[in-house]
């Protein structure tokens, strides 16, 4: 039984107000379920309330960020929660992603007989978990948040329960996700065990805490550095594996194409954007925190992963005709570029901000593309083929131009924001002296033009082919969708020419 003082200190550290946005998201999610259960006929209003609620939380977070004065990291819950300026921005990022995902889900569920409110509910819980994940200061909260969002994704991936593809994707994601969680947990357990070993120098009192673990790994005793301890090496590599699985880096990308294809389009978007961003931010937390002293071990490992990720991610989509698989596999290539930025961050201080810039631009472009995909999806959501995009520019100029701009930005074509993002990462990699990886990345960009070009060409050039199927009825595009598409396209174009707004947002200037 802890002493009175300890108890009081622990309780005093529980600053619930610091996590109010996450709590409110959870309450919103619960309220949606309850309201829908009692008033199923009021579903449109309930869904609207879900949007408004998220928007309100977003506004509040933005207000808090802009009025906050710059300062040290804020630590709550006895070190479990660490809030920094960057994690505050990531919370805003995730709520924004959630809004887009909600909107995509409403478009997706428009003509389908699946429960709506439940989808939003799970999506909100996943968002709250992402927000907790990026603030985690020890492995406990880290793992709980990661598992919560992964379990949420299991549901979201298999949500189209009458679709064989979706069920297959759900099963694959469940098995592979469970496997990676197990590996991650094993790694955490090893680190916990070795860092609590009283025979080693600088034994940690709370080995799960990132700061204490970092201090332990960085310590050097008579028998050698802790960083060279076999259990530290094994544990850190296993933890890293779990995180790399989330971002879809090779060789942990095996689930990507099938899951991206089978999952409903809004889920695919959330996997592509939020999951990737969360994974990279967590990677940053780990590499710059507890694993800082392991640079000489992790750097070559990550460099190897980066190289194969870049190669695989750019070659694998070449033969694809299914656009969801293209998004998934090219997402692997983007993970490679982001990893390159992470590696550069070891040497170049601003490189991680370039990674954030890339993530931001990637998110904006991806959501533009996914919005278009959600509108063009046939009844079987997994069968989205390039041929469905033939003559899109003529059929619906707004959707067509949004798609072209989004894809152009993903491909890194100037003058779109994606180009600037790639250049920033390349410059950072060059300053860090990663010449070989840079060469691979640049070749990758050249190859990637091919598959993005094929998709764009279908939208721009091919005349409408009247094959009598695949939803040739007029596209229903609501006014909010139009506003969203125009805004996303505009940010992508303007951000490519005048970058000041975006660079300031990610702390580059």
């Amino acid at each position: 039984m802890p002493s009175t003082e300890e108890l009081q200190a622990l309780v005093a550290a529980n600053t619930w107000s610091a996590l109010l946005p996450e709590i409110l998201l959870g309450v919103l999610a619960l309220a949606l379920l309850a309201v829908d259960a009692f008033a199923p006929r009021r579903q449109p209003q309930t869904l609207l309330a879900a949007m408004v609620g998220q928007a309100a939380i977003l506004a509040w977070l933005l207000f808090a960020v802009f009025t906050a004065e710059a300062g040290e990291a804020r630590v709550y819950f006895a070190g479990s929660v660490v809030q920094t300026a960057l994690s505050d921005w990531m919370r805003i990022f995730f709520v924004t992603c959630s809004l887009f995902t909600t909107h995509l889900a409403l478009v997706y569920l428009r003509n389908r007989e699946y429960p709506r409110v439940e989808y939003i509910h799970v999506s909100l819980v996943v968002t709250a978990s992402f927000m907790l994940l990026v603030q985690s200061g020890n492995f406990l909260l880290f793992f709980v948040a990661l598992e919560t969002l992964t379990i949420g994704f299991y549901v979201l991936v298999a949500f189209a329960r009458t679709s064989r593809f979706s069920l297959e994707a759900g099963l694959k994601y469940l098995v592979m996700g469970g496997f990676s969680s197990g590996i991650l947990l094993f790694g955490i357990a090893l680190l916990y065990g070795v860092a609590g070993n009283p025979l080693l120098p600088a034994t940690a009192v709370d080995p799960l805490n990132f700061i204490e673990l970092g201090a332990f790994i960085g310590a050097v005793g008579i028998d050698g550095a802790n960083a060279a301890h076999p259990l530290v090496i094994a544990g850190s590599l296993l933890v890293l594996t779990g995180v790399l699985f989330k971002v879809g880096a090779v060789p942990f990308q095996i689930w990507v194409p099938d899951v991206y294809q089978g999952a409903p389009t809004p889920t695919t978007a959330a996997l592509a954007v939020a999951s990737k961003a969360g994974g990279f931010f967590v990677l940053f937390i780990l590499l710059s925190g507890p694993f800082l002293a392991l640079e000489s071990l992790l750097f070559p490992v990550l460099a190897g992963v980066t190289a194969v990720t870049l190669v695989f991610g750019n070659i694998a989509p070449l033969g694809q005709q299914n656009v969801k698989r293209i998004m998934g596999l090219s997402g692997v290539a983007h993970a490679g570029v982001l990893l390159l930025g992470m590696l550069a961050a070891y040497q170049v201080p601003w490189a991680f901000h370039a990674v954030l810039f890339y993530l931001l631009v990637y998110a904006i472009a991806s959501f533009a593309v996914f919005e278009v995909m959600a509108h063009l999806a046939p009844d079987e959501d997994a069968d989205q083929d390039i041929s469905h995009y033939r003559g899109l520019l003529k059929r619906h100029p707004l959707l067509g131009s949004a798609l072209v701009i989004g894809l152009g930005s993903l491909a890194g074509i100037p003058p779109l924001a994606g180009f600037i993002a790639k250049v920033l990462i390349f410059v950072a990699a060059f300053q860090a002296g990663l010449y070989t990886l840079l060469a691979v990345a640049i070749l990758g960009v050249v190859i990637s033009i091919y598959y993005y070009f094929g998709w764009m060409r279908a939208a721009v050039l091919r005349e409408l082919v009247d094959d009598g199927e695949s939803g040739r009825e007029p596209l229903r595009v609501t006014i909010p969708t139009k506003v969203i598409l125009v805004a996303l396209a505009l940010i992508t174009v303007v951000g490519g020419i005048f970058q000041a707004g975006l660079t300031k947002l990610v702390g580059l200037s």
Binding site: W350, G408, I413, P414, P415, F419, I420, V423, L424, F426, V427, F430, Q431, L438, A439, I442, L443, V445, V446, I449, Y450, F453, R457, V460, L461, I497, F498, Q499, A500, G501, L502, T503, K504, L508, S509
Partner: protein, 527 residues
């Protein structure tokens, strides 16, 4: 150095006016520069977002968009000569876009090397624009918009002092090229567009890597060309970075083993696109080498020069022979334009003020003449339905004006005196003679013979003899004539008065290169 312009009493009054304007507001001429770059882009944007428009309104707006860069170019040319900047940078403007932490900013201005190309770009843009407007293709509005974007990018690229924006504007011009070929190209356009896209993206990416390397390794902490001038790099790095730039830009200029995209690309592209690409955009690589790579990496340039020599000779001789074998007029022109790039590379090889200066003048002249040739070849195609020279013939009787223009253009591209091309080639030969390997002149002169053979043979096949095709549409129409005349007059103008350009080129080049064989004797010939 006294400007030859000063001898002209007529010019004095105008120069006084321009100086007074500059004195009144230092931004006066800079705003003309901005107008030349962002004018066409603004017109493109306006056309893109405006709703239903009458055809006539689209054409007028397009014409104004194409006209602005040409006017801006002429205005700045006179202003530059009036201000007596002697080759240095003028009309500077530096604006931040949010990448200052990298040392990147939108830094615009012109010096003695970029000014002639800026002017040439505006003139070719106007001619290509007029030709595009009168062409009557489907989806004319998009056609004009894409050409306007291309032109805006071209003007911006020559006016960029910042390496990043230099590349950025190049891509700005390159992307519409792909679309234009893919949508409006001739037969086989899809494969050609894809090949071009991947090949040129590779070149562009290598160039980008080289430019990043240049900025990072020089330690200047800036992408600004003026700041980079002072920072010198170690020899080992110089070699590597120059190699990257040479190959990257070489692909974009169609240097010998990397040229295979060019002939088919130009043959397939719609005429205004080919005019802008072959005439102006392709000069990006040469301009980059002359303005950036060679002065900043002189040791790297020396190390790569022996290889460059052989590649350039490959351009002249091997491509020259391939050109001889062409039966399609557009393919022949595409190959010929690849071949002539060899001379410009030889100018760089000579590594002297005369050689480099000659290369710049040659780029201007080549841009004008090749644009004229592509324009005329396309008007032949619209009239006869083919560019296969075996089927063509006897056009001289039916279209004498077309024939006159074509003969003049061929003469110009061979390099006859009186045309701008002559001065460029002469300066390059002089520089080669003074260089360490004067023997190079022999194969180079053989190249001229080759170009005379295929040029004159083309004239003979197209305009004389019997025709196998039906001829429709009569002689050149007014708009076509106007476009062709703009180019031809410019060729004559520079041909008869090269010092209007060569003085400022000479002054700019003299800063960076040994005056082994100066450029001045060549330019003095017209005094």
């Amino acid at each position: 150095m006294m400007s030859s312009i000063a001898h002209l009493a007529l010019f004095d009054g105008v120069a006084e006016l321009f100086r007074a304007m500059d004195a009144a507001s230092p931004r006066a001429h800079t705003s003309v520069l901005l107008l030349g770059i962002f004018g066409p882009l603004a017109f493109a944007l306006a056309l893109a977002i405006s709703g239903k428009l009458e055809d006539r309104a689209v054409k007028i707006a397009g014409f104004l968009g194409f006209l602005l860069p040409a006017l801006s170019g002429l205005w700045l040319w006179i202003a530059y000569l009036s201000l007596g900047v002697e080759g240095g940078y003028a009309f500077l403007i530096n604006a931040s876009t949010g990448l200052d932490f990298l040392g990147v900013s939108l830094f615009l201005g012109l010096n003695g090397i970029s000014l002639p190309l800026y002017v040439m770009s505006g003139i070719v843009g106007l001619a290509a624009g007029i030709y595009a407007i009168q062409s009557g293709v489907e989806r004319l509005r998009l056609y004009i918009i894409l050409h306007l974007i291309m032109l805006g990018g071209l003007m911006g690229l020559f006016a960029s002092i910042d390496l990043f924006f230099f590349f950025f504007f190049h891509e700005f011009a390159l992307i519409p090229t792909f679309l234009l070929i893919a949508i409006w190209g001739r037969q086989g356009r899809r494969a050609v567009a894809l090949e071009l896209t991947i090949y040129l993206t590779l070149g562009a990416m290598l160039t980008l890597a080289g430019l990043i390397a240049l900025a990072v390794l020089s330690g200047a902490g800036s992408f600004n060309l003026i700041a980079l001038r002072v920072a010198l790099m170690e020899t080992g790095w110089q070699n590597a970075v120059y190699g990257l730039l040479l190959i990257g830009m070489g692909i974009l200029v169609s240097l010998f083993p990397f040229h295979s995209w060019a002939p088919r690309g130009y043959a397939t592209a719609p005429a205004p696109t080919a005019m802008l690409h072959a005439g102006v955009l392709k000069k990006f690589g040469l301009y980059g080498l002359i303005q950036i790579a060679v002065p900043l990496l002189p040791e790297g340039a020396m190390a790569w020069n022996p290889l460059l020599l052989w590649l350039a000779l490959g351009n002249i001789l091997i491509i020259g022979l391939i050109t001889l074998a062409q039966r399609d007029l557009k393919l022949m022109l595409g190959n010929a334009s690849v071949m002539h790039m060899g001379y410009a590379f030889l100018g760089i090889f000579a590594f002297s003020a005369a050689g480099i200066g000659g290369a710049v003048l040659m780029m201007v002249a080549h841009g004008l003449s090749v644009a004229l040739l592509f324009l005329l070849a396309d008007s032949i195609e619209t009239r006869c339905g083919t560019t296969d020279m075996r089927d063509l013939g006897g056009l001289g009787n039916q279209a004498p004006v077309l024939m006159a223009f074509f003969v003049a253009a061929i003469m110009a591209s061979i390099g006859l005196p009186g045309f701008a091309n002559f001065w460029g080639e002469l300066a390059i030969f002089t520089a080669l003679w003074a260089s360490a390997s004067p023997w190079v002149i022999a194969p180079t002169v053989a190249g001229i013979v080759i170009s005379a053979i295929y040029g004159l043979r083309a004239v003979a096949r197209i305009f004389f003899g019997e025709s196998a095709t039906e001829f429709r549409g009569g002689d050149l129409r007014g708009a076509e004539k106007a476009a062709a005349l703009i180019l031809l007059l410019s060729l004559f103008f520079v041909g008869f008065w090269p010092r209007s350009m060569s003085d400022s080129i000479d002054a700019a080049v003299a800063d960076s290169f040994p005056p082994a064989a100066t450029f001045a004797p060549v330019a003095a010939l017209d005094d």
